[in-house]
Amino acid sequence: MRHRLAVIKNFYGAAPLHLLALAVCFALAGYATSQTLSAPHWPWIFVWFAGAVIGHDLVAFPLYALADRSLVRALRALHRSPAPTPPLVSAVNHVRLPALGAGLLLLLFLPVIIQRGRPSYTDATGRTQQDYLGHWWLVTAILFAVSAVVYALRLGRALHHRRAPGDDPTPL
């Protein structure tokens, strides 16, 4: 018995439980898929399913990774050119975090912010989507303002520490 299991493991590359779990996964996926085949426009469900993966892995992820890498490099280059000493407080997270928050909200609430699906929104709610763009700018402004205030406080504290004799001036 033990020998047979080892043979399976060698051929398959993992424990039998691994195969069982995946068999359940594919059986469920297959059955659920078969249930959609009578729905109108069902091929589009597959297109959107694949599109969700491609849109994230091959479009959104490279874009935000690139944006973040560019930000880090740009800030480093900025500091390197005129001043030889490293900055007292790194600004990178004070730009990155509010931008991330604002970007996340924009991504999530894009339809109401840019007023897509306007007729169905009005039919359902009796309201318009006009206020959402302003709301998004407001939240974005608050995020950047809070981040700037925290940056100023950290910078002030770092300067204070540097002036104090015998203190280590390494950045936070």
Partner: protein, 394 residues
């Protein structure tokens, strides 16, 4: 870490979604999608108590689903290098496992995208939302179960490899790269850390908190709705006159002639028929109850409704113990211009044919001349602009 959060929270989103399907009483042929085969919870009578049951269920399904989006994105970010692993698979097991990741990643992203678009009423896709979101959810659930089965030991090992308490005390300056791992997730030449590990947790937690602040108010209502600046049903203050609806009278094509003095409520049971004008309904015993409208889309609003008890209307037409009540709206088209109620939803003392809300006549958009309001019932089954109720005995 992100994986363990998802392991704890995603089952809540999955189960509330399946529970919501049962809450629609699918055995009356009024849940969407209509046919789901074996892919459903066992049916049970949806209760009328506690009155906030459906409100909580959908608040969790939609609210928690949205709040988890930053965690899902962080999880995908943390494993992204594996996408480009070469060779893609070294054994049959790895080939199958990578295929299952298509169901896992595609499933969660598909559920997020369709759900997020649906609650904002942007039907950018040509297919039916309910069908796609329901079966997409099952594809994801299968892959999620397999993934947890396969990866649970690794998750436990990873959590044990570091002390959370120590990480929470480690600043960015003291943050060191991970040792190389067999999966190749650790960068070969890591750049200096720009964020500590506790910082990374705080960023994701902060993103989730931000979303929670932006949407929780649409389920809580009142002043909190004002705070939910970006929620599809938020950004303004609830008042007794202005609170959310799920469809305007204009969209339902309700004509002034339909609801004028000529309006009659038709009650039937077997061969008996009773017709009532609105003043006659107002002359009957009135009952007042504070009940929520709770939408499948996650928003809800609590208001004080006054009207005639459904069980009094059943008695009026001689229906002793009806096994269901079929309510029809004046609305001619649409999937929700009728609904069938379970026996407990007719009997409940707070189940009303409401004529007033917050002390005044129902606004037209809220279903004037009369609407159904039943505790814990999915919002859209509280039929507006009611034309007739047929009490049925099986």
């Amino acid at each position: 870490m992100f994986g363990s959060v998802l392991l704890a929270a995603l089952p809540v989103v999955i189960v509330t979604g399946l529970v919501s399907y049962v809450a629609y009483a699918p055995w009356f042929g009024q849940a969407y999608p209509a046919h789901v085969g074996w892919l459903r919870l066992p049916y049970f009578t949806w209760p009328t108590r506690p009155i906030w049951l459906y409100r909580l269920n959908q608040g969790l399904h939609v609210g928690l689903g949205l709040v988890l989006i930053p965690v899902v994105l962080a999880k995908l970010w943390s494993v992204a290098p594996r996408l480009w692993a070469w060779p893609p698979a070294r054994s049959l097991a790895q080939v199958l496992e990578r295929l299952s990741l298509l169901s896992l990643v595609g499933g969660i992203l598909f559920e997020i995208v369709t759900g997020v678009l649906d609650i904002q009423y942007w039907y950018a896709f040509p297919f039916d939302f309910y069908t796609a979101h329901y079966f997409g959810g099952w594809v994801f659930t299968g892959a999620f179960l397999a993934h947890v089965t396969i990866k649970l030991p690794k998750l436990v090992r990873a959590l044990r490899s570091r002390s959370l308490r120590r990480e929470l005390r480690t600043s960015r300056a003291d943050t060191r790269p991970e040792p190389p791992d067999p999966d190749g997730l650790v960068a070969a030449e890591p750049a200096p850390a720009t964020l500590s590990r506790r910082g990374a947790l705080a960023v994701v937690g902060g993103g989730s908190t931000l979303i929670a602040v932006m949407v929780a108010g649409q389920s809580i209502g009142g002043t909190a709705r004002r705070v939910a600046l970006l929620a599809p049903r938020g950004g303004y203050r609830d008042t007794p006159e202005d609170f959310p609806i799920n469809q305007t009278a204009a969209a339902a094509a309700i004509m002034p002639a339909d609801i004028g003095s000529g309006w009659r409520l038709t009650l039937t049971s077997g061969t008996r028929t009773v017709q009532l004008e609105r003043p006659q309904l107002l002359a009957m015993a009135q009952h007042t109850a504070a009940l929520p409208i709770a939408c499948v889309e996650g928003w809800s609003t609590m208001q004080t409704w006054t009207g005639v008890r459904l069980r009094d209307l059943a008695a009026l037409v001689g229906a002793g113990h009806p096994s269901s009540a079929h309510v029809r709206s004046l609305q001619r088209g649409g999937a929700f211009n009728q609904a069938t109620l379970q026996p407990n939803q007719i009997r409940a003392p707070d189940a009303l044919l409401a004529l007033k809300v917050n002390g005044t006549d129902l606004p037209l958009d809220h279903g004037y001349p009369a609407r159904v309001i039943v505790p814990a019932l999915p919002g859209v089954h509280n039929t507006k602009w009611v034309r007739s109720i047929d009490f049925r005995d099986s």
